[in-house]
């Protein structure tokens, strides 16, 4: 036992170094394929500004999954939060943008959490039901038939600075540091992870389960809230989703999270998230440059990507996998 434990312990830096080298090589390769277009600053800017709000959603997933929840309604929440961000932004300016998105996101995620925690309905199924409700509300707000719809215009350009570089990058950097410490180095972070690991043990060690769960709800809410106003600031406009299509919104963050989870044994998951989202959007970017149609074959690549990483990541996995 001792020898195997030492073997894996011996060079913890090896994997990250190899990982970064491979990554750099791949990026260079992309650059060559795209005849130098890929690494141009304007192109990188497109990638980076695009990955920021999915990043926050993926971080939200880190906390959600850590305590065993999968919330399928986050897409619906982001749509509603973006609406709020838009309405209040146009009314009250920048503070409206931030508070509108943040408060709506927090509130809705908090409601979700109350439902998950107290009804004990498996979260992803409850999430589907909630997504239906949120979608219906969004339709009502945007396409009201009898009254004038509440959300009729896009967010004014002057209030969209937060979603553009360099502000969005500041959000990302601050977010990374704060979330890293929150997840790894605070009591609440450890308690949250213990709930995901073994709820029974956590409970018997005197960790207040409901309090911790509500903390998860709050943290995820803040993260999703930030994602809401960043999304609205980035895109300016949000389309209504019906018939559960809002779930499509979370596929990319989910893919980021799943990728991050696969390499988390070697690199901390919170740091993995921005790296993985960069990889993901870089691949999308290069595919677009190469003329692969978006929305069809690019999605196919995304799916294949997750499966391949999943297979590699679980190569040595033992025990029960559902």
């Amino acid at each position: 036992m001792a020898t195997t434990e030492q073997n894996t312990k011996r060079r913890p830096w090896l994997f990250p170094v190899v990982f970064v080298l491979v990554l750099a090589a791949v990026l260079l390769l992309f650059n060559i394929i795209s005849k130098g277009l890929f690494l141009e600053w304007t192109n990188l800017k497109v990638i980076i500004s695009h990955l920021i709000y999915p990043c926050f959603i993926a971080w939200g997933f880190c906390f959600l999954f850590a305590c065993g929840y999968t919330d399928m309604s986050i897409g619906g929440v982001v749509v509603l939060g973006s609406f709020a961000s838009c309405i209040f932004g146009n009314w009250y300016g920048l503070s409206g943008v931030v508070l509108g998105g943040l408060i709506t996101g927090m509130l809705l995620i908090f409601i979700n959490f109350l439902i998950f925690t107290y009804t004990k309905i498996p979260s992803w199924i409850a999430g589907i039901s909630l997504a239906m409700i949120y979608e219906a509300i969004a339709v009502f707000l945007k396409l009201g038939k009898t009254t004038k719809p509440l959300v009729s215009t896009a967010l004014a350009t002057e209030y969209r600075t937060l979603g553009q570089l360099p502000w969005s990058l500041v959000f990302l950097a601050v977010g990374l540091v704060v979330i890293y410490f929150l997840y790894n180095r605070t009591t609440i972070g450890l308690n949250i992870r213990s709930l995901g690991g073994n709820r029974d043990v956590a409970e018997k060690l005197g960790i207040n389960v409901s309090k911790t769960l509500l903390a998860v709800g709050l943290i995820t809410g803040v993260l999703i809230g930030i994602a809401c106003f960043l999304q609205q600031s980035y895109a300016g406009q949000t389309t209504v989703k019906t018939g559960l299509t809002s779930i499509n919104l979370i596929f990319q963050p989910l893919a980021i999270y799943l990728l991050a989870q696969i390499i988390q044994k070697r690199i901390n998951i919170i740091i993995c998230v921005p790296i993985c989202s960069f990889i993901l959007y870089a691949v999308f970017n290069i595919l677009t440059v190469l003329g692969v149609p978006s929305g069809t074959l690019q999605e196919a690549f995304l799916g294949a990507f997750i499966i391949i990483f999943g297979v590699i990541g679980q190569r040595k996995a033992k025990g029960v996998v559902k």
Binding site: T70, I115, T119, K120, I121, P122, I125, A126, I128, S129, L130, A131, M132, I133, E135, A136, I137, V139, F140, T242, G243, L244, T245, I247, F251, L254, A255, L258, P293, G295, T296, L297, Q298, E299, A300, F301, L302, G303, A304, F305, I306, I307, G310, V311, Q314, R315, A317, V320, V321, K322
Partner: protein, 318 residues
């Protein structure tokens, strides 16, 4: 004799309450022969697909790729039939493609230990991309004239009943179903007893894929051909139907055939009932559907709580 548990009654009760409620508010329209037929026809696709997923859920896994599988196998199966001019090929080709996708899922889950949730979400994203790509090239296709008999409701209902009976037999009265339940109850136990766990996993995903292929035929039979949104969010509907019927996510012995039927019918009753009373407006019907789902799931879980509390009491006695 076997005692009837409260949790077994909930799916029945939910169905009856919903049915009676909509019968009353629709002033009896719900019980007309036409309505009942519509109810069944609208449930067929969900039930057929859910029948396959039931095996997967019984093992405690989940298959969220059946929706796109319906689309892929339908689109490709139909295209083969159109290109070759052999209309009958549509059915076997759809089934074979569904089966292949299912086998792929099964092999990845059992041999590569990728969690089924992750895998099937990836398939959901990826295969949908492929289907969209294919459809941008070949467009929508219609069922060839030689095969139009599949669109008649007589054919669909008879075929549905035959298939449902086969699934009922396989799930409830053969080792396939029993072993799947055992794997859901405790996979380690199943393996230690000597159940071929890996083979069973591949088998159930293959069954789910095959049923999706059959579902594709039903889906095309209902609208007369392929559509751009074929099978969209069917996997969510199927999952809802199964859990609505009172099956627990952990599967095991809570997975029963009748629950799938009841769950699917209940969901159709909500959708159809709302349209009967003139509330088919998508926003209202969607939110009511969502809300009702939450409530009924809550009751199901509540009545299953004794499972947890009983365990606690047993632990305490040790």
């Amino acid at each position: 004799m076997k005692r009837i548990k409260v949790s077994d009654i909930v799916p029945f009760a939910a169905f009856i309450v919903l049915f009676v409620f909509f019968t009353i508010v629709s002033k009896g329209k719900m019980v007309s022969a036409y309505s009942l037929k519509m109810l069944l026809e609208q449930s067929i696709l969900t039930i057929i697909t859910a029948c396959g997923v039931l095996f997967v859920v019984a093992q405690g896994s989940i298959d969220l790729s059946v929706g796109v599988n319906v689309a892929l196998s339908g689109v490709v199966g139909m295209h083969i039939a159109t290109v070759t001019g052999q209309g009958w090929l549509m059915i076997p080709c759809s089934m074979v493609i569904g089966l292949i996708v299912g086998l792929f899922n099964g092999v990845i889950v059992s041999k590569c230990h990728v969690p089924s949730f992750t895998l099937s979400i990836a398939m959901l994203i990826g295969v949908r991309g492929v289907v969209n790509y294919i459809q941008t090239i070949i467009g929508i296709e219609y069922i060839p004239e030689s095969m139009l008999f599949v669109t008649t409701s007589t054919f669909r209902i008879i075929a549905f009943i035959v298939i449902a009976l086969i699934v009922l037999f396989v799930f409830e009265f053969t080792r396939v179903g029993r072993y799947s339940q055992a794997i859901g109850e405790n996979e380690t136990t199943a393996r230690f007893v000597g159940i071929p766990v890996d083979k069973m996993k591949i088998l159930v995903f293959a069954i789910a894929g095959l049923m999706a292929g059959i579902g594709a035929v039903f889906s095309m039979a209902t609208v007369g051909g392929t559509t751009m949104t074929m099978g969209a969010f069917l996997e969510m509907k199927v999952a809802m139907a199964i859990f609505f019927g009172g099956v627990l996510v952990t599967g095991g012995s809570s997975a029963r055939f009748y629950k799938v039927i009841l769950g699917s019918l209940s969901i159709t009753v909500i959708v159809y009932g709302l349209s009967l009373i003139g509330m088919s407006d998508s926003q209202i019907s969607e939110s009511v559907e969502g809300g009702l789902l939450l409530i009924i799931l809550f009751i199901t879980i509540l009545t299953n709580r004794h499972r947890a509390s009983r365990k606690k009491a047993a632990e305490a006695e040790e």
